[in-house]
């Protein structure tokens, strides 16, 4: 049985290779492969990969340990959902998922209408060259369907820290984001080849780039949320290399979506848009594969394999060389000189583009510097998180200012003082609120105050801008997506700053019966008990949280002991309130009498996630509204 599956799945991969090769050949206007058409081949690519992915899921579900991948990453006693998510909790499976999304985007684009046939052919051909490369890599170097000769009775199991419902969906969502930019990249290359990077091109690209961006944002947010409650350190972002690897394409993509917007409206910045499209996709590749390659030393490195990193580096290198030589050759022909006013919305967006690139450089240097010293000087070192916060904070202030002012400026030269006068009430309101906040909460750090002030300006102005009446007092259609995302970003920044300033931590060694204090709350250590679950045993402590003698909530932090593979994890117990989270973690007792408990007050966490959610919603709205407006001029 296993042998049949082995042959079928590998033939499916080969079938996809052939279809992609035929699809790629259409890049030259040849007569050999005019048939079968683009759509037929796209169907073949999609169905072959989809089937092999389903087969892999099936193998995990029935725990067929004849396959190496299942043996190393699954266990028969694992709950069903984690057998399922175990499919992409490893290198080969996640590669297959990555390819599945790659062919899915290829397929969806092949089906889209109102795009010239030749342009579509070229885009799909570029996309298929990548599909070919990755399927070949999968087939020859990391085949998920490799058989072993032994009859293993049971598998090794999935890392318990990955056994979490959120981590079941985090990789697929993140991958849709990363891979979405592959299509944007293909579109950029097709634009370079046909020399048609214009307003029409921008409106074709827009829905794809916005949806990829929204998914990437959601993927990062899910990962951050997972780290917050699963790692048990009370933080949501650690400036860890793996986190940075996902943040870098996000920053580039954020610059890109704004460039696509200006290109569509004003037909300017063609070259820069193309460069950003190439950059975003290259960084997405870095994000996916350097994480998997094990080159980055990180707490999040799961399923790593250094040997494969080389292939990916080579691939990124080829993409960069190819696309930039094409760019150098054709860039003169895509640029049209169109001026924007000096004080205009376009300039504002351009300035923020530069600021984003600066932040990108900061993150890039911080992430790569330790790698470079390790490889070149054989010296290990780490860059402390303070580097990022102190360097990025001043830039964020400028960034927030331009985010606030740019949408208020016209596309042509605008008089700045007129705008300021127009917005005087807004500015006075924000100033007052900031003053009250800083006096009441004793916030006297200039950087922090400025971030709060400009965030407030941004939030209030975005919110008021989304409610817009015309002269007849009728609500007019406004740019809801943009305003929602911008307001969300302001809210996020305020939450990040206040969270950093007002977080509190207490550490106790507690015995049953002890009363521990955190601010105005008392935690009574009620009892500790052992719990047996299907795939782990756990030690569960009960803390009664009281305020003024009244019971408010019961906290149950846990320590879980997994046996397949043997690992210990701490499960935090968190109470989410609107203005702050209360967070309890315990650790393995040093002696039998007491346990170590760490308590955190994390203010504004709910608001922080809310801001992030608004950004994602904004992206989704912007992506979907524009799908119906392809040939709007």
């Amino acid at each position: 049985m296993s042998l049949y599956i082995f042959y079928i799945s590998n033939s499916l991969l080969l079938l996809c290779l052939i279809a992609s090769l035929m699809q790629s050949s259409k890049i030259i206007n040849n007569k050999i492969f005019t048939r079968p058409g683009v759509i037929v081949l796209a169907y073949v690519q999609l169905i072959s990969i989809l089937l092999s992915f389903l087969i892999l899921i099936y193998l995990f579900l029935i725990s067929d340990f004849n396959f190496d991948l299942v043996y190393f990453n699954s266990h028969s006693e694992k709950p069903l959902i984690y057998k399922f998510s175990g499919v992409w909790g490893n290198h080969e499976g996640s590669m297959l998922l990555w390819i599945l999304i790659l062919v899915l985007f290829n397929f969806l684009f092949a089906l889209s209408r109102r795009i010239s046939e030749r342009f579509k052919e070229i885009t799909v051909a570029i996309q298929s060259i990548m599909i070919f490369g990755f399927v070949a890599f999968l087939f020859f170097l990391s085949n998920p369907f490799a058989l072993n000769q032994n009859n293993f009775f049971d598998g090794i199991g999935l890392n318990p820290i990955l056994q979490d419902p959120l981590l079941a969906i985090h990789p697929p969502v993140l991958y849709v984001g990363y891979v979405g930019f592959s299509l944007v990249f293909s579109l950029a290359i097709a634009g370079l080849i046909t020399k048609e990077v214009d307003q029409r091109w921008a409106s074709i690209v827009k829905p794809w780039v916005f949806s990829a961006w929204a998914f990437l944002t959601a993927g990062i947010a899910l990962g951050s949320f997972w780290a917050y409650y699963e790692l048990g350190w009370g933080g949501y972002w650690f400036w860890d290399p793996v986190e940075n690897a996902s943040l870098m394409p996000w920053i580039a993509a954020t610059a890109l979506i704004h460039c696509v917007l200006i290109l569509q409206k004003r037909n300017v910045m063609q070259s820069w848009t193309i460069i950003l499209a190439i950059l975003t996709f290259s960084l997405s590749l870095v994000g996916t594969f350097l994480v998997r390659s094990g080159i980055l030393n990180s707490v999040h490195t799961f399923a790593s394999d250094p040997g494969r990193g080389l292939f990916i580096l080579l691939f990124i290198f080829l993409i960069l060389v190819f696309s930039f030589s094409l760019f150098a050759y054709n860039s003169e022909k895509i640029n049209k000189i169109n001026s924007m006013g000096l004080v205009s919305r376009g300039t504002g967006i351009q300035v923020n583009n530069w600021l984003l690139i600066t932040i990108l450089t900061i993150v890039f240097l911080g992430t790569m510097y330790p790698l470079a010293t390790d490889l070149l000087l054989n010296k290990s070192l780490t860059v402390g998180p303070k580097y990022y916060s102190t360097t990025i904070a001043p830039i964020i202030i400028l960034f927030l200012f331009f985010m606030f002012i740019s949408p208020r400026l016209g596309w042509t030269d605008t008089k700045l003082y007129k705008i300021i006068i127009q917005l005087r009430y807004l500015i006075i309101t924000s100033l007052t609120i900031t003053l009250i906040i800083s006096l009441y909460f004793e916030l006297f750090n200039l950087t922090e105050i400025l971030i709060i002030f400009f965030s407030l300006l941004l939030v209030i102005s975005s919110m008021t801008a989304s409610i817009n009446f015309n002269k007849q007092n009728i609500l007019v259609r406004t740019n809801l997506g943009q305003n929602l995302a911008h307001a969300g970003f302001g809210i996020l920044m305020m939450a990040v700053v206040s969270n950093a300033v007002y977080s509190e931590e207490r550490i106790y060694n507690a015995k049953v019966g002890d009363n521990l204090q955190l601010q105005k709350y008392i935690f009574s250590f009620d009892k500790i008990e052992q719990v047996e679950e299907s795939n782990y045993n756990s030690l569960k402590a009960y803390f009664l949280m009281k305020k003024d003698g009244k019971l408010i909530d019961i906290f149950t932090p846990e320590i879980r002991f997994y046996s397949n593979p043997p690992t210990i994890t701490s499960e935090a117990s968190i109470l989410h309130k609107f203005f702050s989270d209360i967070y309890l973690v315990m650790n393995v007792p040093q002696d039998q009498q007491s346990i170590s408990v760490r308590m955190h007050i994390k203010p504004f966490m709910t608001i922080l996630w809310l801001g992030t959610l608004m950004i994602i919603m904004g992206g989704i709205i912007s992506a979907s509204i524009r799908i119906g407006r392809f040939d709007e001029k």
Binding site: L381, T382, Y387
Partner: protein, 145 residues
């Protein structure tokens, strides 16, 4: 000068200024926030590093662990050649044990003692921090592949 050239020139100069300021800030900040990693032998060679924040890694020496109170701990970190005594106040991670790999962050004091303010947590029982492997290889005590 035409207005187009003028506006481009201003934009160019503006971005040049922004970029150079940014690069300066980045470089200075990066230099201030680097945390070096040492093994015990390396640290003893670099005794001028006293007073700086750094990371120290190796194996927790056998029979070196003591707790003064519930949250003040003493132990030694070894690479097989040399040992450094560590004092740590706080919570030890779940997988902390003698003869296992460990990385601590803190300050190397003048009296040769290392005062740790963080013991870095790892999740996997078999996980060995890459720096520790490197340290053990340098001292010739690495047993693995």
């Amino acid at each position: 000068m035409s207005s187009l050239v003028k506006s481009r020139l201003i934009k160019f100069l503006l971005s040049l200024i922004i970029v150079s300021i940014a690069v300066l800030i980045i470089i200075f900040n990066l230099r201030d926030n680097i945390i070096y990693f040492y093994g015990p032998t390396e640290l003893l060679k670099n005794s001028d590093k006293q007073g700086q924040i750094m990371r120290l890694g190796g194996l927790v020496s056998v029979d070196s662990f003591q707790n003064e109170t519930d949250s003040v701990f003493y132990f030694s970190i070894t690479d097989g050649k040399n040992e450094i005594d560590v004092k740590y106040e706080g919570i030890l991670p779940n997988l902390f044990a003698e003869d296992k790999g460990v990385v601590v962050e803190g300050v190397y004091m003048n009296d040769g003692r290392f005062i740790a303010n963080k013991v870095l947590a790892k999740h996997d029982e078999n996980y060995m921090p890459p720096e520790v492997i490197e340290t053990l290889k340098k001292s010739g005590k690495w047993q693995g592949e």
